[in-house]
Structures are given as structure tokens and as C-alpha cells.
Symmetry: C2
Subunit: 385 residues, 2 copies
């Protein structure tokens, strides 16, 4: 197995891109990543996308985007794992290079959710849940997270305000990220006054409906030798573990077994422990997911995730900084793109180029992308060499 390095990163600002289609957004991010790497022609493209087929009437994004980028003749496919599609595409790129079958792999995560405003996006997101046993009952994706949050508050005897620190932290970190969707601070008062969407999930517990694309280029040490200015970031672990799609089928709803399995496999592969992680880009699609991710990934005891947040330990200077560029909550969550944005943010930290948001001496970062309500969990550990 060959070692794999991130050799280029790119991204579009996240927002409502009414004037750009899926292929243009993807191209913009890929263009930045190729410029950043100094390489122009990858051998393969892996696209992370969840909903283009439903929302834009366009499947077959691998070939569509590769051709639009000027790379006719290369290999290209789309990888889908609901909201973990970006992480899954990144993993496909890592595998391809590690196997020796591909020298330089491009990965792009892209989602254009505004094409589905008017209703399509809600039913589109619900395809991540179990159509036959959950969605048929009228459950939306927000409602599933609300059920988990309700249970969490009941079991751990917590009130809504326990979750405020997650979105305050995310919004605070987004202020200095020019690619973030919501670049403004919020307060506990604003959080507690936010509109309720599906109790107890309120508007500020939730990541936005948005458009965006993020890209990386992957290669080997041999490729890096030709790029003397590149800062080498190596992939130490790339893991994926699944749980049931329907949350009623879980052995332990709040235990989040897939998160635990995915993180444990990653720690084992990298021969590291949670204490070695300097930055954790977690999947804060909803505040409740941030809390259970911290717990199941080994950063907090069961039921203590919100305390880690409220005690300031998730801030840029805390014990385990999360959502360092705004996270899904404030940078934004264009679902199939998110896993690649997480990698881009992690690499930015490891390169030491996060500017005002730089986590001091960050050398090891973990990015964790979650599809469904804790169903598919893809964890990557990266290190600056």
C-alpha cells in the first residue's frame, strides 16, 4: 500500500449560487485545487454528490465534471453515501492512489441544494433515511435528529441551552472564513429565541440549505518531490463503518456505534488516541450530532459532550477545537460537498494557513463525515509531515 498525500485544495464560497450549475461549481473548486497543487491533469476524478439526480435532473456527474474540467479520457465516477458522500469520494481517491492504479486523483464534493427549493430538497434529504420504514411515516431528516436530541435531553437531564455553545463556536469561527455562509457571531439569547423547527431542534441547531463545492488533489511522495513548495499532508487513516439506516433498529440510539467503530478503526490504523488529535472537523449538521460525535469518538464521556462545548474546550484554544472554519453549521452544509470541505479545512489547519483561526501547532487533524442520522461514518486522520 502506498502512502497518500493531499497535494492541492480548493473550494467555492458556500451560499446560494443561483447563477451557477453543478458542473460550474465543481469546476471552480477543482480549478483552485489544481492551481494550488501545481498539477493540471489528474488520472481520475471522484465526485461526492447526493442529490443532483433528483434536484438538477443530472446523474453521471463523474464524466460530466471531468469533461467540463478539460480532462476527457481520464477515469471518473460518483460516490454516494447520503451526507457522507464527500468523505466517501475522498476515500475512493485515497484507495485509488494507495492501490497503485492511479497516480494523481482529483476529488470534488459538490451539491446544489437551491435547485430544490420549493420542496424537492426536503424529500431529497429524506432519501438518506429509510424510505420503507421511516420516510413513509412522514418523518423528515430534521425530525429524526429531533427524536435523537429529545432522547438525549431526557436521558442526560439537559435543557435546550446545553447545546448553545456548539452553534456559538461555529458562528464565531465562521466570521474569519471568507468561504463561510454565515459570517456573524450569535449569542445564547439568539439561540434560545430561534424559531423551533422540529422540537427540540431549532433554527440555530441546524445547518443551512446551500450550494458549494470543495476539491482536493491526491498523490504520492514521488509526486511531491516535483513540488518543492508543497507542504506535505499525509493520510494516516481512512475508515468507514455503517449502522442501520432506520434509527429504530439501533441497539443503542445515543451510543452511535458507527461513529465509535469508524473512529476506533481510524485510531488503530494511525496508532493514535483521541489525545493526539489537534483539530476535529466533526459533522455538526445538527447540534445533537456534534455532542454525540464528541462522545462516540472518545473526546468526552457519555452524556458529557455538551459540557465540553460549554466549558470552552471546543474553541480554537481549547482541548479539542471543532468546526474551526465554521463547521457544517456556519460554514455551511452542501451535503455531498461537506466531507471534502472538512478535509480542506483540516489541511488548512495542518498547513498553518488558517490565519486568525489557526489552531496553534496543529500537526494531526481528524475529519469525520456522517451520512444519515449516524448511519455511514467516514473518518480520516491527516498529519503534517
Amino acid at each position: 500500500m502506498r502512502d497518500v498525500y493531499v497535494i492541492g485544495i480548493g473550494q467555492t464560497p458556500i451560499g446560494e449560487w443561483w447563477d451557477k450549475g453543478v458542473r460550474q461549481l465543481a469546476y471552480d473548486a477543482l480549478h483552485d485545487a489544481t492551481e494550488d497543487s501545481g498539477l493540471e491533469w489528474p488520472d481520475a476524478l471522484y465526485v461526492g454528490n447526493m442529490m443532483s439526480s433528483r434536484l438538477s435532473g443530472q446523474a453521471h456527474l463523474g464524466a460530466l465534471i471531468a469533461d467540463f474540467a478539460g480532462w476527457r479520457g481520464i477515469e471518473a465516477v460518483t460516490v454516494e453515501a447520503a451526507c457522507a458522500s464527500g468523505g466517501a469520494a475522498f476515500q475512493a481517491g485515497v484507495r485509488a492512489v494507495a492501490s497503485g492504479m492511479v497516480e494523481v486523483a482529483a476529488v470534488v464534493g459538490v451539491e446544489k441544494m437551491t435547485d430544490g427549493i420549493g420542496g424537492g430538497v426536503i424529500s431529497g434529504l429524506a432519501t438518506a433515511a429509510d424510505a420503507d420504514y421511516e420516510v413513509i411515516q412522514g418523518v423528515t431528516f430534521v425530525a429524526l435528529n429531533a427524536l435523537i436530541m429529545q432522547r438525549y435531553m431526557y436521558e442526560h437531564n439537559l435543557k435546550q441551552e446545553a447545546f448553545a455553545a456548539f452553534c456559538i463556536n461555529a458562528h464565531h469561527n465562521a466570521v474569519n472564513n471568507p468561504n463561510a455562509m454565515f459570517r456573524k457571531e450569535i449569542t445564547t439569547r439568539a439561540y434560545l429565541n430561534a424559531h423551533m423547527i422540529s422540537p427540540p431542534v431549532n433554527l440555530l441547531d441546524s445547518s443551512p440549505i446551500c450550494d458549494g463545492a470543495a476539491a482536493v488533489l491526491l498523490g504520492t511522495k514521488d509526486i511531491l518531490r516535483d513540488l518543492p513548495e508543497a507542504i506535505p499532508v499525509r493520510i494516516l487513516a481512512s475508515t468507514n463503518a455503517i449502522d442501520s439506516v432506520a434509527i429504530a433498529e439501533r441497539h443503542d440510539l445515543l451510543g452511535m456505534e458507527a461513529i465509535r467503530n469508524s473512529a476506533q478503526k481510524a485510531y488503530q490504523t494511525a496508532r493514535l488516541a483521541p489525545t493526539n488529535i489537534d483539530v476535529f472537523e466533526l459533522h455538526d449538521a445538527f447540534s445533537i450530532m456534534a455532542a454525540v460525535s464528541l462522545e462516540a469518538s472518545g473526546f468526552a464521556e457519555r452524556g458529557r459532550g455538551t459540557f465540553l462545548a460549554s466549558e470552552g474546550e471546543i474553541s480554537l484554544t481549547g482541548r479539542i477545537p471543532v468546526s474551526t472554519m465554521g463547521g457544517l453549521k456556519a460554514r455551511g452544509h452542501p451535503v455531498g460537498a461537506t466531507g471534502v470541505y472538512q478535509i480542506v479545512d483540516a489541511v488548512t489547519q495542518l498547513r498553518g494557513t488558517a490565519d486568525k483561526n489557526q489552531v496553534k501547532d496543529a500537526t494531526i487533524a481528524m475529519a469525520q463525515n456522517v451520512g444519515g442520522a449516524g448511519t455511514t461514518v467516514i473518518t480520516h486522520i491527516l498529519a503534517r509531515e
Copy 2:
């Protein structure tokens, strides 16, 4: 890079499965493949599927199917490349095992097209084409193939009957395949009297709308050592090349550059030539695709593909047997499953278990899965060891 072997195969009969959903169909094929292999627990599952998100309201098939198969905790994702999704999922499995990151990979291709009868399936298939430049003009997928066939007949001065031998051969081979959808012979007369769908593509030029699933298990030589009764079939080459999605963007419409590139890369990797191939499972979604596939893959001169068929050279005893178990035309074409069915058919030939359809002394087989009208072309060469 590690050598990768097919260690188990399974499939459902292809037809209209009104009483089974996507997960059940996939499970049936996976169950057969695990029984065939003697292994019960893969480390990863790669699902090939194109339209479940649109037709069945269910994305996230990786986790859904892995969990239904009883494999909670493993890695699972979906791979999509339009009608080449099955081949793309198989390639993902090969990569995962070759890289050393996965020991045993399961691959399943599954499609339930009858969920879309009433219109959804036609617009679903059209998502393989370019939404902004083709589909918006009202072009369906059949119409795109009709444009190519029309041009082919004009350039090479051929009449409709030139294509008859492709579907006669496919139907003939399907008669003895218990998993085929159309197990009946057809005649030139029937072909010439078939309903016209989109001139010159008639009903018998076209593969059917249908449901089905096919599965394989992949592993290394080490795994094979524990399975003394297994017949080793090794993957010699696994390649993917793309062309533009919109056919108007092609440099050479009938040249099918992606087919040529994909096949050439496969021959180079395997250090073989077309003359070494004993069986060719090609992508006969339409008769025209069979003709151009034979040409661009090096089995016939430009414009001579139909002659290879009419001269009997594609039959089980001919120079290059194609569609040996009925092909897409008569075995059936549940789109995201097809690439895996092709592998299953190729392995059946290489194992020498194709019964009445056995190609004598078949030791090397090529399977070629095409997404879009020649857009994404995934070629595998397999050999009995």
C-alpha cells in the same frame, strides 16, 4: 498492489419484481454470492445503482443493503456512473482489495426500474445524458442512440437488417439462461417487423426496462487458499475512461473514443491483444452500441461491426463470442446492476459452468460496461488461473 480474485458470484433472475424492493433484490444476489464463496462476512460493500434515489425515494443504499444483509459495522458506499454504475462498483471493490485496505469486498449491482413505470424511468434514464444541453431539448436516451445509429447507417451505407444478428444472437443465448428475462429465439423477420421506437431504433434493438441484482465477492490469493474448491478467476485489468456526456461535443461520434481508450488501457495493463480474448461481454443496450463496441475495442475494422455479427463470429463458437448468456438485450439491463451481471457471466464462462452456453476453452474474458451513449466506459479483463 495485490492481485484480486473473484471468489463468489450470485444473481437474481431478471424480470419485473413487483413483490421485492431494492434491498431485498440486492440481498438475494449477495446471499447467493456468499454461499458460492463459502465466506459470510465481507469487510466492505460497494453498491452499483443509478436510479433508486429517484424511482424508489431511497439513496444511501450502501448502508441500507449492508445492514439488511446482516453486516452492520462494515464499510459501505454506492458508486454511480449512469448505466456503468455496476462496473464502477466492481472497480471500487477491486481497488479496495488491491490497496490492502480491505480483505474481502462484496459488490452488488441492483436496479428496480419497475418502480418508475408510468414515466419516471424514462426521465430517470435521461439523467445519464446532459441535462442542460441534451435533455432540455426533449431528447430521451433511446433518441440519443437513434441519432448515433442513423449516422452509422448513413456513413457505412447500411440498412436496418444489418443489425438483426445482434439481437438474434442475444436471444438465442438467453434461451438456456434461467436468469434471463427473454428466453425465446427471434428471427430476422420478427426483428424487421418490430415496432419502431425512435427511428431507426426498434423494439428489438433495445434492452428492456427491468429489475434485478447481481453480486460478487472479491479477495486475495490468501483468502483463496482457505477455499480449496474455488476456481480462481483473477482480475488482469480494471480501467475506466470518459468522453463528453453530450454527444454533440464528441470529436468523432462513431469512433467512441472512451471505448477505445478504456479497452486499450485494459489491453496494456493485461499485456494482451483483442485476439487473446475468448469471451466479450459487451454493452448491447442497443444494437448500435454492440456494433461500435466491437469496432472501438479492436475486434472489427471501422464500419465492420455488424458484419462480424451477420457472419456468425459473435456466436458461442465464433471468433469473439458476445452476450453469451443473453447480454443486456435478452438477459436484461437493470441499469445499475448490468456491470456486475457482465462480470458474473464472464466468471461463469471462465469457470466452465455455462452449461449449454459454454464457450470452449474460455480462459480470458473481457467485460465492458458503458454509461451514457459511450460516455463512461469501464473495462475488466479476467482470467482463469
